[in-house]
Subunit: 372 residues, 2 copies
């Protein structure tokens, strides 16, 4: 395997001690030591999400599995789910909700913008949804949705608030309980500095109540929280054989984050991102998102006119072992996506990426000019 | 983490070089190196399953996720699914199928027995199912279902054959194509000597055809093979961020198995199991399954009358770091389950487990006698 500096939208590089934990010999999924590790993982997840939710656990799949878990457990056939779409992952939420027989309603903003409270309220009043689903940190665009007031809106109109925190957990201020979020999910391979493979999931007591009152079984056995809770709760009833080594990994990743302290981690991400933004703009590059809405974890950079963005990122991968991402969906071919997440958010990486942009991009501009 | 010798129903100990592979720094899920590794994993899975199925890949969850994937992709609402239940995992298949709105029919055999061809044919004629689901190696009972003729029966009555190979893959002769199996799944933590976390999945062209002709979308986004195939096939369209490190692990695990050779691995499992059986019987213990139907990977031992089986296995765990399993469902409290799977199937482990049974069990019998 080649060595890579993973500065794309994720996976990001893992902390070396997380990789070490990952390679410990497995133990049984009902071993007393494992059971105590499960409790630590849950408690640490509550801390990084700033929530007291009882039902907080890592799903035994990637972030997308945890995304589906929020839908599968909360949606009943015929429920209206309002998805506020401003990028790729909003579309995915809408697709998933439709598979669980929701009546899906959507509102849209251009990729790179966010929703105002007024827009959200108008839509909630119009559709009276059971669930409002929205992405906090849109990995496809690099925007961070301001959260003030959204939870109160949802309480006012009696709907659950479902939040994607895939690219914010560990890197961006996140306060699930004070924001009144009812369902949230994330991943391990970004702000947590762990390889991909687990999907942190959490559910408020309001969402639990809806689950308890369902008419039928959750139409997804693997992600059924009412079953999973019997294993993660005090009963320890076997559900599926836990991915024990991945849980060794996430436990160490969360421990490292707690050791640093959430506020310190958020500050570090902010500082390094700001230095990246300044540096890129100094090189004459334009950023896709206005400064007040930018994610510290993921920056979208406009590909200069005439430059073959894909050829440039392939060149960085082959010559320097540096991976940056391309655009998805509406932004395909238009932006690069540069991630500075978790372990990778440090000044050395900012310098490295700015240096290769400075030294290599001119060749790609010139080749365009000379070809023309 | 304590050191454990995992001789229960799984997870089993991993091969050290698999653990090493697991802790390699992650690379991107669209990195050319990763894409080539994906192809190797698929090719090696085809080999260990003895199949040419195009759609052969590891699901990004544990074996239970792969089990659900076989159901989710093949069942349409109203389809009749016949489940031949002879243990815990047959019940799980029936539960899952019902969640996908199948009309579930079941036939049952006592836990520890298998189905005859005649019984299966009678039930198929009676229910005319779209799918017959059956477990090859029942982890809850330790029986191995003879497979001769079942595939032909399914072809004769135009139904798909769905097979659970969780406890057989890598340890027990398995010939998916010559057995005419249409859907199968397995896990990584038993015969493959890898930690739990991926779920090998395969689907024949007959099953693919049913998937292609579905009226609606697969009601499970994460496990939807029509989407996954765009990532695992030549298009490489992003679906979810792959659990890259787990795939480093399974790739190494499969490579080791191919290096040993399937037939050699099967012979090794058989030899060590036979030595275990002889040794246990010499100690005066009775095995739950008749010899011709016993699984070489997992042995069910009757707990002698009056012995507290749970206390005994807890004692082995605490004093020797040896994990053995207890009974599930109908066999709860009645048997111990001893696994010799993958890396753990060797003569040293046979000796270790026989030695602790010989030295420790008398104390548990005596305490009963003296208490009485």
């Amino acid at each position: 395997m080649p060595e890579r500096l993973l500065l794309g939208p994720g996976p990001s590089n893992s902390h070396p001690s997380v990789l070490e934990a990952l390679s410990l010999p497995p133990i049984g999924h009902l071993d007393p030591f494992y059971v105590s590790l499960m409790g630590e993982v849950q408690e640490l997840l509550r801390y990084v999400w700033q929530t007291d939710n009882r039902l907080t656990l890592p799903m035994s799949g990637t972030g997308s599995a945890a995304m589906e878990a929020t839908i599968a457990n909360s949606v009943e056939p015929g429920d209206t789910v309002l998805v506020a779409i401003k990028g790729y992952f909003g579309h995915r939420l809408a697709d998933m909700a439709s598979r669980y027989q929701a009546k899906v309603e959507t509102i849209n903003r251009p990729w790179g913008e966010v929703f105002s409270l007024e827009e959200l309220e108008t839509a909630i009043v119009k559709y009276r949804p059971t669930i409002l689903a929205i992405v906090h940190a849109e990995t496809s665009t690099g925007v961070c949705q301001p959260m003030e007031g959204i939870g109160d809106l949802c309480r006012k109109y009696d709907c659950l608030l479902l939040l994607d925190t895939v690219t914010s957990l560990g890197g961006v201020p996140l306060f699930l309980d004070s924001w009144k979020v009812d369902l949230a999910y994330s991943c391990t391979q970004k702000g947590l500095s762990c390889p991909p493979g687990l999907g942190p999931f959490t559910m408020s007591s309001r969402a639990e109540k809806k689950l308890a009152n369902r008419k039928g079984k959750v139409p997804n056995w693997y992600l059924d929280v009412s079953l999973l809770n019997k294993y993660w709760g005090s009963d320890r009833v076997y559900h599926h054989t836990a991915p024990v080594n991945m849980n060794f990994g996430i436990r160490e990743a969360l421990r490292l984050l707690a050791e640093e302290g959430l506020q310190n981690a958020w500050d570090r991400h902010r500082l390094n991102a700001e230095n990246l933004w300044t540096g890129l703009e100094k090189l004459g590059l334009e950023l896709h998102v206005s400064e007040d809405l930018r994610l510290p974890t993921l920056t979208t950079v406009k590909i200069p006119e005439g430059v073959d963005g894909k050829a440039f990122s392939l060149h960085l991968l082959n010559k320097y072992g540096i991976e940056i991402g391309g655009g998805l969906g509406d932004l395909a071919g238009k932006v690069w996506r540069i991630g500075l997440m978790g372990y990778n958010s440090n000044s050395e990486n900012v310098e490295r990426v700015l240096n290769v942009f400075e030294s290599e991009l001119p060749n790609f501009r010139e080749s365009i000019v000379s070809a023309a």
